[in-house]
């Protein structure tokens, strides 16, 4: 019944989807009304991208591929936004350098 | 009618005098602050004595409890604070021994709820509970209460802690007296001493 918009992106961040990136991804996901899920494989298992606990528990590593899918009115922009965040390395360059 | 001011002095002096002993007991199975915490709490009670004594007994007990809550700084603050506040809630202005037994029983229940603990968990309840029951049976004397408090505190030595920080030690908590049981014993003994001098 779900009409998914899907995409995938390679995680370049040197620590992978750890604490800070997870919080950013979750926060961004929460700004969309759509159901948004992520997975480390195109077959799933899919987890709720709005659940900080589940996203952090995924422990997605550097250079692994993150699969994204969303369903709902703003699904397309949600997928684009999340993929963009990962592609931009979670906007962390500045913060990262500052905090060492 | 006992002199509350004098009782306060006796209880506070006793706990302050035993602060190092309580802290030593607590360093064996807790975080080594029970004596200091009780000392800070009762010093604050003494500092506020004039205000406390201006109130009728129930209100005075509630004020003592509140001061302990605000000043002790460890878990014993809310626990002893709850004890005194409940006594204040339950006792009439001119209590009889039966009133005291009933109020202490209610206060022990309140402390149990506050600490989510039960009897035989190696806590202050193991002294206060038996004393409350003993007061209720009508045959209590100052000596029998003092002896019971002492024996029940000693009886926490072989117990295994299942509440509070001491519970992390598991089997290793065995062989040490519970500092809260000891401070309860000191408090009860001091109250007996204070009442007896007066009587």
């Amino acid at each position: 019944m779900n009409d998914w918009k899907s995409s995938s992106v390679v995680i370049r961040h040197e620590v992978g989807l750890h604490a800070r990136p997870s919080v950013k991804l979750t926060k961004l996901a929460k700004t969309f009304a759509s159901t948004i899920q992520i997975s480390g494989s195109p077959e799933g298992p899919w987890i709720d991208a709005k659940s900080i606990v589940k996203v952090m528990a995924m422990k997605a590593k550097q250079d692994s591929t993150l699969y994204l899918r969303a369903s709902g009115g703003d699904a397309a922009s949600a997928v684009d936004a999340l993929r963009g965040l990962v592609e931009r390395d979670f906007d962390e360059d500045a913060a990262h350098a500052a905090s060492g | 009618m006992p002199d509350l001011g004098k009782m306060l002095d006796v209880v506070a002096e006793r706990l302050i005098a035993h602060a190092e002993e309580l802290t030593a007991l607590d360093s064996a199975i807790g975080d080594a602050d029970h004596g200091l915490n009780m000392k800070r709490g009762f010093e604050a009670v003494l500092a506020d004595k004039v205000n406390i004594l201006a109130k009728p007994l129930p209100e005075a007990l509630k004020a003592i409890g509140m001061t302990l809550v605000m000043k002790v700084g460890g878990a014993s603050g809310p626990l002893y604070g709850t004890l005194f506040m409940t006594l204040g809630k339950e006792l009439p202005a001119e209590p009889s021994l039966a009133d005291a037994a009933r109020a202490l029983t209610a206060a022990v229940e309140a402390v149990k709820a506050r600490g989510k603990a039960d009897f035989d968990n190696k806590t202050m309840l193991d002294v206060l509970g038996p004393v409350a029951r003993h007061l209720g049976n009508g045959s209590a004397t100052f000596d029998s209460v003092r002896k019971l408090a002492h024996d029940r505190a000693e009886a926490t030595v072989p117990m295994k802690a299942i509440k509070g920080r001491a519970s992390f030690l598991g089997e290793r908590s065995i062989g040490h007296m519970d500092p809260g049981a000891r401070s309860s014993e000191l408090m009860i003994t001091a109250i007996c001493d204070g009442l007896e001098d007066k009587g």
């Binding site: 659940s51 | 700084g73 604070g81």
Partner: protein
Amino acid sequence: MRANDKVGIVIVSHSPDVARGTADMVRQMVGEDVPLGYCGGNPDGGLGTDVAKILKAIDEAWSEKGVAILVDLGGAETNSEMAVEMLDPERQGKVVICNAPIVEGAVMAATEAWGGASLEDVRRTAEELSPQ
């Protein structure tokens, strides 16, 4: 005065340094939008917790959506429960103490709160970390 559309987070540790450090992590990772209060140390400034300071921290983090408290060890929880009971009755029902590790719980709870979640959802998120 910030908009009260997010659940507030309060951090109560025995150590003032742990409390401040945990608050720093929440601020850096989740941002400034979540109402946040923290406190640590006994009334003398040593290790311990202080009901008066907890009440103040709850006040600082106050939100009409409620406040979730994260604590470290036993006394922090007991003193926090005491503080909650001393709040005005209408506030009492809007404060919960989470059974969760303090640092992880604070970050998770704040992330959930940031998205506008209810107090119950914020608590559940923090407690997902604890063995049931």
